[in-house]
């Protein structure tokens, strides 16, 4: 597997999944990301990322119940795995460490 590092967008998607808990499926993730980042997020991109995250073992997925929206098609719900959680935590930790290295003077005046 090429690297266990998270890409920037991957991290966002993974965070969204964690935030949405039980309701995380592709369209919802898309909407949520659009809402919070303010940039237009394409379904195709999200789909590809979800797929990659699952490959890396950070999320797992399962089909939900059929409803009468979406032409009766079931949704694929994603939940974050412990591996995913660990990676997120690690990423956050790294960031915090790096943040702590920055002298206050750098951001002064902003």
């Amino acid at each position: 597997m090429k690297g266990t590092n998270l890409g920037e967008f991957e991290e966002l998607v993974l965070l969204t999944i964690a935030a949405l808990m039980e309701e995380a499926y592709s369209v919802a993730v898309c909407d949520e990301l659009t809402k919070h980042t303010g940039r237009e997020v394409k379904l195709g991109v999200v789909h590809a990322v979800l797929n990659r995250l699952e490959e890396k073992g950070y999320v797992k997925s399962g089909l939900g119940e059929a409803t009468n929206v979406r032409g009766g098609r079931r949704k694929r719900f994603y939940t974050i795995t412990s591996g995913g959680k660990a990676t997120l935590l690690k990423a956050r930790e790294q960031r915090d460490q790096l943040w702590s290295l920055i002298p206050d003077i750098v951001f002064k005046g902003i």
Binding site: Y25, S26, V27, A28, D31, L43, G44, H47, A48, N51, L63, N68, V69, R70, G71, G72, R73, R74, K75, R76
Partner: protein
């Protein structure tokens, strides 16, 4: 956040093809939710942006999702599955065919009959594409052909062109590599010592072997035909003359019988080359070639070149060089034509030359003066159309019967579907079944193909020896492909309609449901019968026209007149011997046999007016022998020797054309003739005869002139006494053999000769009649199948009616009523339509048409009706006679 609507209306759903595309490429594991996401977006977009944009976005999204991780790998196993199922399909097909033997037989026989014609067409097309394909330059060779406009509006197309055109093209047109001129009037005897054989061929200019790819075995291709009086023999001719001895460099004698005056009799020729025998697929046929330079010798009549008069003698072929296209040639030919026509202001007659691609020669348009084998492109196209009609008709039958049987097969399909077969599987099964039937038919069709082929080869119009239709491996593989294609075509509609059946609807109660698609099947039956009736009507009309043409009152009497080809013998000897026979009433001589489609022209001038006229040279006995009626003046008087001016006898139209007044006034007026070997010869009008048909019935009665020219006679006309024809023929043959032991007698009765001239109608009767038989049998088989099916599926109804007191007669009426209505509709469509097409299209340029009465038209229809009634009657009677207790005992 999520749209709370309960599904989009069906009509405004996303494009189905896009969804199918997604389903096709997407991994099954990803498909469902991906499809769901797209639908969700679609619904959202419909609200926000409207249906149209939503659809567009949907399509774009489907295309965008085509990514490495979504696309499923090509599945070999899926294909294998189908393949494994094939054997199962095959097995079920055979079983279901065995279960309903009658339907299978009807299908196989019907398809086989029509397929045999299809095979014939394939064999023919296969041979046609091989015609002339051995010439390496075939894409660069063009033939120059002429179109002649006569002042009275007549247009005729000739396969020939003037030598003037050849010369000018050779000299003036850029990009022309070679021009070869062929003169086709070469027939006669070659002799060496006492051996003589009849040959035919061309006077050919020296470029012949550079342009065409005939295989010259001996001699130098560039020079064999350069010098006057040189010949090239084919291998078989050389073998006949010289045996195994060396032929090149030897001298032979050649006596040209065609166009007598062009070359001196019995000249010596030097053999300069030997060419391999001409392959049968060549449109140029010869067994010897004489150098064109022989014709061009000073004093011979080709040295005078005339744009108009010479256009009928020579075939001109042009070889373009590699870089030049046809357009340059076309433009130049146009220019040359207009220049030459401007120079020859000749009674309003103009000749335009144009190029004809080598591949368009055979099969090609109808052209006058082409002596070689012909095959008209129109004939081929008509044939293709007819065969397509027949094939489609047979496929209709299959479709028709299969759909009719859908009730029986519906349960099987239902169970297959319940067990898990998809649409494609069901369709595959029915297509395999159709292919199996079609291959079975192919075996039968190949058996039928051989007798049909032999018949076909005897029809001159198609064969002319260029096509052999001989079976070959390539041909048989084409047949196989054809059969499979027909199977797929025939199985298509049943396959699709079966695959659409919903498994829920397959329950037993279906059999009581009124049949669906009845309208379609009715239309098919009407169409089939309409085609059959059309063929029958066309055959009847063609026969009628033939009968009419042959018995047409030509204006003179051809009964019991025997025409003997003189073949260069001394007419006086022949006539003297013939006149001594008891059976002979009278003997006359003439130049050509009239009313058989051969035309000879001469130019006549009267005062300032001149025009071309048809003519014949006759002797003094001809007019009484053929019973031409003299209106004024007198017949020719006997004159001996080389007569130049014995006067002429003309017909009434001639007087009209040159404004010569009444017959009595015209007698004694002077005309000036310019024809082959003469110019401005003065002739007096000696007599006037009643108008008669010189041409065939496609042309009106035209002006005509009889001349008296003993040096021109080629035919002896013998009037025989009634009732002694056979005896007379024997004696005449005996006399001939004494006079000319070297050549067999060429004699033919005038009436027979006229029949031969109208042979095309008989051919049409044969071909169309054959097609009628085929399409009628297909239609009858189809009808029979339909009747069997309908009666069987209505057995219960019939039984109940019978129990309630219906008579056999009323049941018969009930069951056959529908079918007979269909036949009547077919008849009322087909007969008038065919009559119209025949009158307006086929006979469009025939002036004299046979009157068509209702009897001829209705008799064909009546025959078909009787046939159909037999098919319907036997089946319905059988049904009406069944004991109702047997059918109803289970109820």
């Amino acid at each position: 956040m999520k749209p709370k609507q309960s599904g989009s209306p069906r009509t405004d759903g996303p494009p189905r093809w896009a969804s199918r595309l997604l389903e096709w490429y997407c991994k099954p594991s990803l498909y469902e939710d991906l499809q769901g996401d797209l639908l969700e977006y679609f619904e959202r977009n419909v609200e926000k942006k409207g249906v149209l944009r939503a659809k567009l976005i949907y399509i774009v999204d489907v295309l965008k999702f085509f990514r490495t991780y979504t696309v499923q790998k090509p599945q070999i196993f899926k294909g294998m599955n189908q393949f494994i199922l094939l054997s199962n399909y095959f097995k079920t097909s055979v079983r279901s065919m065995a279960r309903s033997k009658l339907f299978t037989t009807i299908n196989v026989v019907g398809l086989a009959i029509s397929m045999s014609v299809g095979l014939l067409l394939i064999a023919l097309l296969y041979d046609i594409q091989k015609i002339d394909d051995f010439h390496t330059n075939k894409d660069r060779i063009y033939r120059i052909i002429s179109k002649r406009h006569v002042s009275n509006g007549g247009v005729s197309n000739f396969a020939t062109a003037s030598v003037v055109a050849a010369e000018r093209v050779r000299e003036e047109v850029p990009g022309v590599e070679k021009v070869v001129v062929l003169n086709g009037g070469l027939t006669g005897d070659v002799s060496l010592d006492e051996r003589a054989i009849s040959v035919g061929g061309f006077f050919a200019s020296q470029e012949f072997f550079d342009v065409f790819s005939f295989d010259l075995k001996r001699g130098n291709p560039g020079t064999v035909l350069a010098a006057p009086n040189t010949v090239v023999l084919t291998e078989s001719t050389a073998k006949k003359l010289f045996g195994d001895a060396e032929a090149v460099g030897k001298t032979i004698f050649f006596e040209n019988a065609g166009r007598g005056s062009a070359v001196a009799d019995k000249s010596e020729y030097l053999v300069t080359g030997i060419v391999k025998d001409v392959p049968p697929n060549s449109h140029l046929r010869f067994n010897l070639l004489v150098s064109y330079a022989t014709l061009e010798k000073p004093g011979s009549d080709a040295s005078k070149q005339d744009w108009l008069k010479d256009m009928m003698s020579d075939n001109v072929y042009v070889l373009l060089d590699q870089n030049n296209s046809r357009e340059v040639l076309d433009r130049n030919l146009e220019r040359i034509s207009s220049k030459e026509n401007a120079a020859f202001k000749n009674a309003g007659t103009t000749v335009t030359v144009r190029a004809q691609a080598f591949n368009d020669i055979v099969p090609g348009p109808h052209l006058i003066n082409w002596r070689g084998p012909k095959l008209e492109a129109n004939t081929v196209n008509i044939l293709i159309a007819l065969v397509v009609v027949i094939m489609v008709s047979a496929c209709f039958n299959y479709t028709n019967l299969s759909i009719a049987r859908s009730l029986t097969r519906a349960k099987e399909v239902g169970i297959r579907k319940v067990v898990g077969a998809g649409k494609a599987h069901i369709a595959g099964q029915f297509i395999v079944e159709a292919i199996v039937i079609s291959l079975l038919s192919l075996c039968l069709a190949i058996l039928l193909f051989f007798p049909i082929r032999n018949e076909f080869l005897q029809l001159n119009e198609f064969a002319s020896g260029m096509v052999s239709l001989s079976p070959s491996l390539a041909l048989f593989s084409l047949f196989g492909v054809f059969a499979i294609a027909i199977g797929i075509l025939a199985g298509m509609v049943p396959a699709i309609s079966f695959s659409k059946i919903k498994s829920l609807h397959m329950s037993g109660r279906l059999s009581n449901r009124p049949m669906k698609g009845l309208g379609l099947r009715r239309t098919l039956i009407v169409l089939q019968y309409a085609f059959s009736l059309a063929f029958i009507t066309a055959a009847t009309l063609a026969y009628k026209q033939f009968h009419y043409s042959v018995n047409f009152d030509l204006g003179y009497d051809t009964k019991n007149v025997l025409n003997i080809d003189l073949q260069k013998n001394n007419p006086d000897v022949v006539i003297e011997q013939l006149s001594q026979l008891n059976e002979v009433e009278a003997v006359a001589q003439s130049f050509s046999v009239m009313s058989t489609g051969y035309y000879w022209y001469t130019q006549v001038r009267y005062l300032g007016d001149s025009a071309y006229f048809n003519f014949n040279s006759i002797d003094e006995n001809y007019i009484p022998l053929l019973d031409h009626k003299l209106l004024a003046g007198s017949n020719f008087h006997h004159m001996a020797g080389d007569v130049k001016t014995a006067g002429v006898i003309v017909n009434s139209k001639f007087l009209e054309r040159l404004h010569l007044g009444s017959p009595e006034e015209a007698i004694g007026k002077n005309l000036y003739f310019s024809g082959v070997g003469e110019s401005n010869v003065r002739e007096q009008i000696l007599g006037v005869v009643e108008d008669f048909h010189y041409g065939m019935l496609d042309s009106p009665v035209e002006p005509f002139v009889f001349r008296y020219a003993p040096q021109n006679y080629q035919v002896v006309n013998v009037k025989l006494k009634e009732g002694e024809l056979l005896a007379a023929m024997d004696k005449i043959e005996k006399i001939w053999n004494e006079v000319d032991p070297g050549h067999p007698l060429k004699a033919e009765f005038y009436d027979r000769r006229i029949e031969m001239a109208y042979q095309e109608y008989l051919t049409m009767v044969k071909v169309v009649g054959f097609l009628a038989v085929i399409s009628l049998s297909i239609a009858s088989l189809g009808l029979l199948g339909m009747v069997v099916f309908t009666t069987e599926s209505r057995m219960k109804e019939i039984s109940i009616r019978k129990v309630l007191g219906a008579t056999e007669g009323s049941l018969l009426y009930l069951l056959s009523r529908g079918f007979i209505t269909l036949l009547l509709i077919a008849g009322s469509l087909a007969v008038p339509a065919t009559t119209w097409v025949f009158e307006k299209k086929v006979l469009s340029n025939v002036i004299y048409k046979a009157p068509v009465g209702p009897m001829e038209l209705l008799s064909g229809g009546a025959f078909v009706l009787v046939l159909a009634l037999i098919a319907i009657g036997t089946q319905t009677l059988k049904a009406a006679r069944t004991n109702p207790a047997q059918i109803l005992r289970n109820e």
